[in-house]
Symmetry: D2
Subunit: 384 residues, 4 copies
């Protein structure tokens, strides 16, 4: 038997669109007991809100998020607003007994994040953070391959998340579209926006990070504000790079920037282990590169004349999520990672188990981000 | 002002799913006057039909396609059934004054196709054939680049559409899932199923084919029927290759098979011209490879030390369709090609212009397919 | 114990350079009994000959090839002149009891080739044709993988040899540098120059071709002669494409052109079999792509979530020839294919076994070329 | 007029082989006044020395390097022995008035390096260090593209030099073959062996490094000595990673390891600038990837629908060094980088100009290596 799940989405920007699509699509491809109903969406700006609600078929709208949180007909609150509002909304939603799902990064900093974890755990409400890239089939396959022992003892982990859209000094900062360039709203620059993804993936695949040393840079020092038109100092980190040691003894390099000309969504990672290696690049999201050296079950090595990096086209029915979509050889795209994540969340509800990553898992990523930013300032290694 | 477009879909297999998704999604991403309404779907088998209708939210169901075609509340009939039923349904739908959209290939052969063209043109109803790959953004970009003169005088066109899913002699033929392996239902094998795509794309990009010489092969001579369990002769072409000359003087090689181990959806084409070349592979659908040699506007050649194949990541806002979806660096997938096609069809309705490819354009492809099959039998060049 | 092998090279153009390098280098990397000595080189033009002889350290020079062939101090005659002189020199050299090694293609046509085979076999002299690409380590590895049964029953073979250097109508024809554009000297165009390589490789890897249908084209109909300056009709095939059936039942597509903008040395082949597939591209000569599906020894299939094309970096000590050069990860280049071929030829001398490909093997390729050209004219299938 | 250059090579291991090849080949492909003569080679072990001398055609041998340095018939001393002998030999050779060419890294540390610079400069003798990778045509092309302003203001530089040959704990350390695993002989591990290359290239392309923070690791703590068989502590850095700021304000990440399963010679760099970006990977040495964004001369941006990474096949006549070798599309290999370097050195002799990199330039790299190792110990940023 199916059961409706009444959803209230707060924020109707880019992420509001991505999440709305997931709610609309999940039932078309997955068989879940809970059937999301687009009960209400909320934004302060009616000129954005009304067409958004009409486009996606929301049953109602609110312009005050507190009103949405207070409604009895809402089961789940989805936080798609800028980072500086996550904390307050999450606390209110948890207090109101709602399930809470929140865009990443969880919070402005670890202190806020801790309070949010406390709030949802105290309230006992289901919660998740939309680190959607764990649900890229190729990344989920990487996790499976690692869990099967096919990488083995890890020596190295290296990752980048590079883009190029803020190189021009003419790009403004702030406002609805570019709040990610304003640290007062975003908390930080690439560290919270992009490295949070890299760190979430890294710890999921390779276990906890123990210590880091970092450097950050702001290449363009002043930009016009998108709304006021005032030239103001740029407060975010334009780029961040750090070295890490993981608890398992492996070494890591992390880098993110929005100044890597030619890289648009260059979220890559490579992991090198005794039995094999893996490489992934989000610009080719349907591909996982795998170098097989030895079979963990038998210890048998690949014949020396046959070793080589494999380009796995992650569209087989046997690949994570892919039996739900089309047929081998047919790719899925960006928005499907949200749909896959939602499908897993609904399954966790059905099973009564916590979703991973929930607020607690995302707090961990927040703590690493904080350590990175602290090291960027002090120039010293920071332990975690 | 928007206006509902009442859709009746006949067939609820793989293509029924792909088309239903397009009807559901088109309004979320495009701004079209016509708003598809999923009025009815039709299949003979209730065990498939009812869950399908429920999943996609059809308002009603029919088990007899004639009943669906006869309904007054249907504006558009969508034919998603096996090829041997296209002709009869299309004629009836046209006679009933419905818009008709039909999966490819148009028909079992050119004679059927001609009658279908006559029917829709006589009835004056809007019509289209779902050659969805024209709406892969990278292929649409190829068309744009060619139209901009960046390829120039063409010398060569080469294309493949290779898969590997019928290599095992244990794969059965026929039935709901594998009717493409039964020539009585499908008309032909890879020629109609896969080369039809290749031919449609080739003539769209490089103009009409003038003559062909072909060879076909059936590697596995007998298979069990999927329903009867009887071992029967295999009637389709498992593989087909042909040489062609185009009207513009260029030479073409075409090949398709379901016996190319490791190729899952290897729909590729390369076009070589005086000013530049283009390569595409559907297994990396977000990429268009472009070799720029000279600028057609200025005639200026690229500096000799800077020539090279470019890997265009077709996700910029400036790329076809991509301003409607996400942001640069974020890919779309297989099903979006149907949604893009539908959006263009709706736009053609609004403008009162024919859609390309319509039945007439698809008939042309059917004629080339027929010539290929004829040459495969005779061993001689066939003129078109 | 080593033993000198006195070499006389006829022709000091591009191939004279490549072969001279092989004679100079073979002893530095291989341990062969026979030690080539650069006894004499021959060309009609002293202005080219003398600097060439000085650069490579030839002990003497000749301007008349008959004088070179007549010398007692020459053991081996190496024919590096244009194709129309192969036949006469080879017959004379064989008659003089010399070993004869000849650039490809063997001859202007199969009749000449047959007489050359008869001559060397009658004389009982060692002979080889420099189809150097068999000694690209990656191609030799392809042969090994096929011989190990890792491809299994073959369904398809497709190959191209595409370049782009004659697109401009301003390229002249004929003369020392461009005799390949003059059919009176070269015998044919891309068929003998490039497809001869493709055919040699194809039959080596996939067995004999049984029948073909072909088409050729000359895109630029007139060119200035490089020496006379006269505008003359172009006599060669600028491009050639053909379909084939192999004796093992597999289908083949072949294509070659010098009008594929952006392709410089695009000598590619792909072979698809029941157990696996292979792809090679001479523009990345150190790479062999291999798709493993099943192990021929055990029949075990690769796990479905781990299948993918492998990019084998053919520089391991275990790869053909690579233990003779540097260390894993270090590539070799174009000229090494000649050195490897020479090393194998010297080994065949030492073992007293025929070299493959010798004149007889190259005659076979010539026969296929003749059949292709014949079919190109008649438009009909030609049996072999 | 040509002039002999009498060469004495000390060391007949892997680098002795690579250098000997360069001396043998340079005159075959370049037109230099100085003609290297292989006068003498030197090694302590006669069993290695004599076959080596015979293979490469050295006129004489020495088993004491001091005897070689003392010979009047030697113009140039080439140091191909392990790092701990560079200093003493270089000082003696300079004092004897010989030209001195030395394998990289220059010395065990910057102090030794400084004394070597002083020695050659005091003696006024020509000198070079074989940082051969600057003469990979693709890397030389990168330099040219940067010098043409096509990268523009630099934001990021990232580089790796990763291999996988010491993962097994069974690999011994020390002795003739594996002295690179013994810090007493090599000075350091991957830092001096591999990162020295990365640093040399980085500063050549992107200017001086100003400060670094580093971490090193030794994954396998004990290994058997290759000669004594004794298990001894491993003294080298198995892996090293560091962050850097360059004088031009750009940020850098550097990493090297011999524990990156599947990477054999993964010497890569990427540079991101305002006008464009470049990527290189030594495992595909004939390719330079270039992303063009704006033309520095005109400021014109590439059309938005045509931007993409270009794969430049660095084999055109217009590419560095390539007019000396074969024809477009034909690659060269690993050893050619030494030949190209030697050709440039001989040209510098002819012009009476210093070679770059000479001892002084290599000292700079040594200083960066020392700073990296110091930071690896202290955990703090080190200024340069």
């Amino acid at each position: 038997m199916t059961q409706p799940l009444n959803v209230g989405v707060i924020g109707c920007g880019f992420m509001g669109k991505a999440h709305s699509n997931a709610y609309r699509q999940v039932n078309h491809f997955f068989d879940r007991k809970h059937q999301p109903v687009l009960k209400a969406c909320c934004a302060r700006n009616r000129d954005l809100l009304d067409p958004f609600a009409a486009r996606w078929g929301y049953e109602s709208t609110e312009t005050d998020w507190r009103a949405l949180v207070a409604r009895d007909d809402i089961d789940l609150v989805d936080i798609c607003v800028p980072n500086n509002m996550h904390h307050e909304i999450a606390l209110a939603a948890a207090a109101a007994g709602k399930m809470v799902v929140c865009e990443k990064p969880l919070a402005m900093n670890a202190q806020e994040g801790q309070e949010m974890v406390d709030a949802v755990e105290r309230a006992g409400v289901a919660n998740m953070v939309w680190f959607n890239y764990r649900r890229v089939p190729a990344i989920a396959l990487a996790k499976q391959i690692i869990d099967e022992g096919r990488v083995g003892r890890t020596f190295h982990y290296r990752t980048t998340y590079n883009q190029d859209y803020t190189i021009s000094a003419d790009v403004p900062q702030g406002g609805a579209a570019l709040w990610r360039l304003d640290a007062r709203v975003a908390g930080s620059g690439v560290t919270g926006d992009l490295l949070a993804h890299s760190i979430d993936t890294a710890e999921w695949l390779n276990g906890p990070i123990r210590r880091v040393t970092a450097a950050t840079e702001t290449f363009v020092k002043e930009r016009k504000h998108a709304e006021s038109g005032q030239v103001e100092p740029v407060t975010i980190d334009d780029a961040c790079m750090f070295l890490a040691f993981f608890a398992n003894g492996s070494m890591g390099t992390f880098e993110s920037t929005r100044y890597a000309r030619g890289r648009k969504n260059y979220n890559t990672f490579e992991i090198n282990g005794e039995n094999g290696s893996i490489f992934f690049d989000l610009e080719d999201p349907h591909i996982l590169q795998f170098f097989k050296y030895a079979d963990p079950a038998t210890g048998a090595k690949v014949e020396d004349h046959l070793t080589g990096w494999q380009r796995i086209h992650v569209t087989n029915f046997e690949h994570p999520y892919m039996d739900k979509w089309w047929v081998p050889g047919c790719t899925i795209g960006y928005e499907h990672t949200f749909t896959n994540a939602l499908a897993d969340f609904l399954e966790s509800l059905e099973r009564g188990e916590p979703f991973d990553p929930d607020f607690r898992a995302a707090l961990r990523t927040q703590q690493v981000c904080d350590a990175v930013l602290e090291s960027g300032k002090s120039g010293e290694w920071v332990e975690l």
